[in-house]
Structures are given as C-alpha cells and as structure tokens.
Amino acid sequence: MRVTALLFAITLGVSALAQESAVPSCGDCHDDQWKAFATNPHGHGVKLTNATCEKCHGDGKAHIEAGGDKTLIYKPAGVAGADKTCLTCHDLATDRVTRHNGPHSNSATVNCLTCHSIHSSTKSTHLLAKPELALCNTCHTTQVASFRNKPYAHRLGTGGMECSSCHEPHGRAGREMLRQTNAGELPCAGCHKQQRGPFVFQHGSLAIGDCLTCHEPHGSSNRNRLIRSNIGQLCLECHSPITSAGSSHGLGSQPPSFHNLSLPRYQNCTTCHVAVHGSNRDPQLMK
C-alpha cells in the first residue's frame, strides 16, 4: 500500500513538473528583457515568473498560446497605458509633486512613457529613455541651447548635475517645479551654502526676492551668471531711487557721488562690495 501510494505521489509530482515546464516562460521569447529585468527596479528582489510580466502586460496566456501574437498581449502605451499601468502604483501626490495636475501630468503629449522606458538599459537611472539632457532637449530646446551656447553656465551632464538637480519633473506648475532643500529653500541653497546666511547686514534682494532676482542659472554672458552683462548695470537698476508723482521707488538706495561711473572701477560694484550677498561685519558689504 505504502509503495503504491509512493509511486502515485511520484507520478503526480512528475506529472505536475511536466505540466509546469510545459508552460512557456515569457523569457523563452523575450530573452533580453527577461535577463535585464533582474537589475530593473521593478524586478530585483522578486522571483521572476510570468506573473511578474503580467502585472503590467495583463494575462499573457492567449498571447503565448497563439505563438506570440502581438495583438493578444497588452502593451502599455500613450496616456491610457501610463494611467492604467504606471499610476496603479506611482500615483503620488504631495504639496509639490503630482501625477494629475502638473505641466508634465499624463496626456497624449507627454506621459510617463514619453520619458521612461521600462525595459531600457539598466545603466540609466530612473529608467529614463535617454540621457537626461537629451531627453529634456526634446521639448525644452531653448533652455538646453542656452546651457550649451552661453559661456558661463552650470556644467550639466558632468559631476552628477542634471536638469533634475534643480527641477522636479513631476512638479506642479510654477515654483513647485523647482526642487527644494529639506528645509524648503530653493535648490540653489542645496549647494551654495555659504550664500544662504542669515546675515546681520542682509542684501534686501536676497531676503525679499531670491537668487533669481540677480542670477540666470541657465547660462549667462556674465562670469557671475548675472541677468545683465555688467555688474554695475544690474546694481544701479535697483539702486536709483528716482521718484515721480504718485510713485514709490521701493527699496534701493542711491550710491554717493564719488562713484564716478565713467571710471571702470565704479562700473564693477563688487570690486569693493565683495560681500554682496550679505555680511556680518560690514554694513556696506565690503567684507
């Protein structure tokens, strides 16, 4: 009896194994994607089975049985594919990030699958379809051209600095598309800590405005990446308290008359006012 039962169990087991091995694996045909999925963020740490693929591609039984008929397998594409597939897990919404309401939210024009390629090379971070600069250049051609053409710009593509170092591609419109430090400051403060202050003698433009009041981070003709070619020009545009009837000149005092603009040294204010972001030692920002 025991021998019979053992033989029966063995027969069942062999039969089951035979049946299991009879079900083709997705990797039998899609060898490259199958192998690459081991290092894919979606695939590492899980035992790769057909069910793994079916999480995004739906039931593959008919596709397999038809010998790989492409019409019988779901391939996520376009806004519908991105919504149905990607947002099932990645529908994150914070005060700054959104998948539904930002300029890059899923639409026919731009969606998850425009920028991310799920089966692309594992060498790419965040499964980007292309290197980041080339990817952003597809739509934001003028901004990328500015980095390339202007002599003074952040070095994108080297040292880990990319567009997304400062921009949040999943952000909401306006300033929310800029990344923040953990303390909620503009991304500039993430690297340029020494300009952050606080200072006793604070330059008003930094305290009431922000870095972009004076600087152009996308490339500039000025060595300090200012929004004007000449420093003196930038400073005097605020530091000229001219008033007319009914108007307020706002913040910005008048330099005294020994600042003779016909002399080159007075055209470059930061020759003397070196601590232009703010100082704890000198009210005139000269050290």
Binding site: T39, G45, A93, H100, N101, N106, A108, T109, T141, A145, R148, N149, K150, P151, R155, G159, G160, M161, A173, N182, A183, E185, C191, K193, Q194, R196, G197, P198, V200, Q202, G204, S205, I208, T213, S221, N224, R228, S229, Q233, H239, I242, S247, G250, G252, S253, Q254, P255, P256, S257, H259, N260, T270, T271, C272, V274, N280, R281, P283, Q284, L285
Partner: protein
Amino acid sequence: MTIKRLFALLLFTTAAAAQAQTFDLEAGYRFLDLKGNGGMYRTQIDEQEGFLVRAFSLTTATGPYADRIRISASDFGTSPAGAIRLEADRRDVYRFTLGYRTADQYNIFPSQHFHNRTRRTLDADLELFPEQRIAPFIGYSFNRFAGPGETTYHFGQDEFLLQQKQKDVEQELRGGATFKFSRVYGSFTQGWRHFNGNSDFSLFPGAGAGNNADPILGQQQNATTISRHDTTRVRTPFTNFYITGDVLQHLRVIGNYVRFSADSKGNEDEAAYGNFASFAISRFFTGATETATSNAKNTTWRGGARAEYAVKDGIDLTAGFQREHRDLDGAALINTLYLQSITFGGVDQRDFQAILNAKSSINRDEDVISAGVNARKLGPFSFRAEARQSKMDVDVAPDLSEIVVPGSQSGSFQRKVSTIDTNASYSAGGLLIGAAWRSDHGDTPIFRTDFDDRDRYRLRAQWAAPKWVRLGAVAERTNMSNDDASTNFHGHITQYAGDVDVTPLSFLTLRASASHFAADSTILYRRPETFAVNTSVHTENGNSREGGVTLNLKRVSLDAAFTTFRNSGSTPFKINRYSARAVVPIKGRYGVALEYAQDKYDENTTFDFDARRIGVFLRITQ
C-alpha cells in the same frame, strides 16, 4: 582625486567585474593643448590634462545582503566635476543610496579677484522597510567648499590686494518616516544643519603700496600688514511634513508644513598696520584693530493645504492656499580701534575707538491662493489652466544696511501679483502642437525692476510621422514692463529653436539645429556722479548653428558635432565648439574610445582662448 586613488578604484572595479551582472568601465588619459587665456579656460571649461575615469558602472544582482548593488561613476580625475553613486537594496527590508560629488569652481573676475575652490558633497540615505506602512529613514549630508582666492579690501582710502583661504563645511543629519495607511499617506522629516565657515585674509606679498598711487591730503597710503580671520557658525533645525488623504472617492486633500530656524553666530578679528587716512573719522592713522561679534536669526515657515477633485477620468479641479512667513533679525557689535590717529589738521589725537552697535530686521509674509483645472484626456487634446494670486507684506527695519549709504532701505511694502497660467496641446499621428501662455500682473513694486505686467508665450511643434525623421520647433517670448514714469522699465526675451533628426539608414543619424536668443531691457537709472537720469540698456543677440552625425556600425561607432554661437549684444563674443568621439572594439569585451574636443572663445580681448583636448580611453564592458 589622486592617481593612487584612481588606480585603487580601477583595481577594485576590475576585481568586482568578475561577479558583476553588468559592468562598464572607460578610463584613460586626456591631452590638452591650450592657447590663450588659461584663467578664462578654467572659468568656462576647466578640463585638464591627465588620467580620467570617464564612466563606470557595475550592477550585481541577488547577493547575500542585497537584491541589487549598483555603483556608477563619471568624470573622475582631471574633470572639473565628478560623481560616484552607490545604490543597494533588499526588497521590503532596506534601500540605501550613497552619492559623492566633486566640483571645481575657478573664476577669474576682472581686476584682482579670483578664486580656485572645490566643492565636495556626500549624501547618504537609508530607508528601512520601504513600501511598508511605516518606513523610517535616516540621512546624512556633507558639503565642503574650500580653496584659495584673491580679493581686494577697500581700507584707509586705498585698496589692497589680499590673499584668501576659505573653508566652509556644512553637515546635515535628518531622520523621519514615510507612512501609508489605506487612504492616507505622507512623510515627516526632522533634521539639523550645522555650518562652519572660516576665512583667513592677509596682505598679498608686495601689495603694500595699494592700488591708489596718489597721496591723500599729501600723505601716501601704504600697508605693512593686513590680516583678518572670520568665523561663522550657523545651526539650523528644520521640520518638513506633508500628508495626503484620498478622503472621498474623487477628492484628494494634501496638507504641508515646512519650517527652519537658522541661528548664526559670527566673529571677526582684523589688524592692519601702515599709513592710512579715513574721511569717516577725518584722521590719519597708523593702524587699526577690529573685533566684531554678530548674531543673526532667520525663522521661516510655510504651510498650506490643497484639494484636488476628479470631476471625471482625466479632468481635475484643484484649489490651494499657502502661507509663508520669514523673520530675519540681526545684531552686530563692531569695535574698531584706530591707532595713533591725528586729525587732517595735524592735531595728535592718539588712539580713537569707534563702536557700531547695529540691528536689522526683515519680516516677510506671503499668501498664495490658487485654483485650476486640468483636462488631460480630451482625445488628442489636453488643456491646463491655473489662476494664482500672491500677496506679500514686507517690513524692513531702519537699521537694515545695504549697499553704500542709508536711505531707501526701510519701510513697509505690499505687493500683489495675479497670475494666469495656461497651456494646451494636440498630439496625434506623429504631429504635436503645444501652446502655453502665462500672464502676471503686479501692483506696487518693491524693487524698481519688479514688473507691472509680464507675459510669457510659448509655442512648440514636433513632427515625427515617418520614424526616420523628427522635426521640432520652439518659439518663446517674454515681455515685462513697469510704465511708471520714474522707472520706465521694458524688457523682452525672444528665443527660437529648431532641430531636425534624420535617420536615412538604420546605422546613420544626421542632426542639425539652429537657435536664436535675443534680450533687451531698458530702465531709467541715476548716475551717481552727476545725478543725471539716464537709460540703462542691456541687449543680447545670439545665433547658434549646430550640426552632427552619429554612425553606429557593427564594430565602430562615431559621433561628431559642431556648434557655433555668436552674440552681438552688450558683451559681444563668439564660441565655436567641435567634438568627435569614436568607439572601436579591440577584442572580446575590450575596446578603445577616442575623443576630440575643441572650444574656441573669442570676445576680442586678452581673455580669448582656444583649447583642444584629445582623449584616449580603454573600455571594458560586460
């Protein structure tokens, strides 16, 4: 990075490659042929001659402690910026990232100012039990910015060249947790930042005569010694929190709060000896010692709430409110002792002490309300519109010191800016057309350059119907103005860009692009020396052309490009850039990459340069 470290990295990675799932290394030597101004070359490009790890990546799968470990590095060695990143994780147990970046900052300014500094940053983050209901995390960041420089110091009616050593170090420790319970999720972070800044200044050898060769009231100015030591310590605790709740089937509510409180303490010791004059105290003097202690505090918080209502699939309504408060207070006690002073009339007054006890404060409140609609699935069309209004209240206390002289630097200011931000797009059959318009209207300016009206327009078109060609075009225009008679500010920025990619053969891609950038702004300003009101005019008028070819043959790949940019604006210059890169396999997983790059900068001054680089790199891939 030293050569030893570079080789250590290479050895480690070569050994590790044996177990790697994927492995790539490209390392070699770059030659530099530089003609012209080396300082300007370093300011703009700064790629030096020497050993270089151009690229490296290693990925392992399924190890004893991690499901995956990935190490990647780029541009380490003689590049101005490099990065290494390590990622490791075990599903549902932990996720760890470690990033190290280095960036050289070399800058020659006109006159006697320059700096040659390096920023090194390290970021480490560990998240436990990711994707679980509560996932605690901890992180650490280190940022060091240090190096020599030269600056000038206006002192005693002369200007002296100083050499400077600067070392700023900031460390940040943070911890918190993300949480996810059914329909509610969010994140809480508590962190502490600690900044230490140190600067040492001393008179540049041989610079004691100062930049001013003329005597002041018959007395020649000179310095025998100038030394200064500054320290700044800033402690900044911060809190960051958001919570999102899907409270109803179609309604999502998000709340957020972030706060930091930066407390800065500064000390300065300065000593200067020589012969000086001061119009501020109307005396000659033979030296001065100064000590300064300061304390400044910045407390900033921002909080808000937002609701998102899905009217139907693909159509969302949003509304939000944010309030931000910023409070800056500062106090400084500056004690200056002028040594052996005599009046300009020749009366001996011996030592003279001046004490400045200054206080400053700025309070700034800003409220932003917004409402919008996003219809993103109207067949091939999508549409988004948002209206925002920000209202800012600023109080600046009289002691705020800004550039040059008191006046026009205090008071209460209010400014309201109303914004309409829209975009629409159409995408079907390989054709994409997008348009965006943003209009801002502001009332009373706080700064003279604040606009009354600003409009931004953007048009984009792309066509890629047959897969072998892609045409793209972008046009952008920004107009801003402040018509107040005392300001008369008008600014315009225009940008056009067009590009085309053609792939006539599967292994050949040709590309070309052209862009135009023009900016002009005019605003009234007052000349300090005459009090005359003039117009400040800034213009830029740049055109670029670019062409390139990519060839991917079975064994050899080649990529070559040429770019030229001419700017005929306020600062005319011309830049020509050439680059080529070929990858040739040698045997098995070994290959060679050859690079050529040339950058020619021409502003028709002594700052022009022509830099050619040739790189030879060994490639190992697996």
